[in-house]
């Protein structure tokens, strides 16, 4: 059963790779890559059990933590506006991106 689940995770990873490469915007790719990271965690955990050495779960833990920090970093830098969110920027660079609109969720 572990093998079956491993194969399922691999299939899902393949689909996510396709999404990450064919995505039309940065956010699509972040979505796919973040999801891919979670699947890697599962892959490592399953692999550890398949080979009978679940001691290496520490690794999966590292993946989970790093994946999260990476995703937040991507989002933080996207909201800087220097890294433009939409597909393309004006080539002459004359028009900077509008700053992120503040909305009502500020804690104040």
């Amino acid at each position: 059963m572990i093998t079956v689940t491993l194969v399922a995770v691999l299939v899902c990873m393949a689909l996510l790779v396709a999404r990450a490469i064919s995505g039309t915007s940065v956010f699509e790719r972040v979505l796919a890559i973040n999801s891919f990271g979670t699947k890697t965690v599962l892959l490592i955990a399953l692999h550890g059990f398949l080979t009978g050495r679940p001691d290496f779960l520490d690794l999966a833990l590292v993946y989970a933590l790093m994946n999260f920090v990476g995703t937040i970093a991507v989002l933080r830098f996207t909201s800087y506006g220097q890294l433009v969110a939409f597909g393309s920027r004006r080539t002459d660079g004359t028009e900077p991106m509008p700053p992120a609109r503040p909305t009502g969720d500020a804690t104040g």
């Binding site: 689940t5 899902c12 396709a18 956010f27 955990a45 059990f49 679940p54 937040i72």
Partner: protein, 123 residues
């Protein structure tokens, strides 16, 4: 007892496998970005839950393994919804249109992707 545990583990792993595959297909095939975020966040919480719980049934009650599985599960359950939320929010703030399905289809057919945020989301 062990057989029962392994049976439960097998069922959980099988369910996890189904969720993972469907999640992957949906992330690839759902029509709009926000619906894909939804698919991904369901996938990212349910799949680790099922698979890691399933693996815990195969841990032979080894304490260190169970603790690590629990930690991984805790971190994933804490972080995945947060990343999905932050992602959707950043996309919304970044001006990714929340337009209707047909609208987005047209946009993608015309090859413009999301490059022109013609309709501003009303905040």
């Amino acid at each position: 007892m062990t057989e029962l545990l392994e049976l439960v583990g097998g069922v959980l792993l099988g369910a996890g496998a189904v969720v993972v595959v469907f999640g992957g297909v949906l992330i690839l095939r759902m029509p709009t970005f926000y619906s894909r975020v939804h698919a991904a966040s369901v996938n990212e919480t349910l799949a680790p839950l099922l698979i890691l719980l399933g693996l815990a049934c195969f841990a032979d009650g080894r304490f260190d393994v169970l603790v690590r599985l629990g930690l991984i599960l805790m971190f994933l359950l804490l972080t995945s919804p947060m990343s999905s939320h932050a992602l959707a929010k950043a996309a919304y703030r970044g001006g990714l249109p929340t337009g209707q399905y047909r609208e987005q289809q047209r946009r993608e057919r015309e090859g413009r992707g999301h490059s022109e945020p013609s309709e501003e989301p009303d905040a």
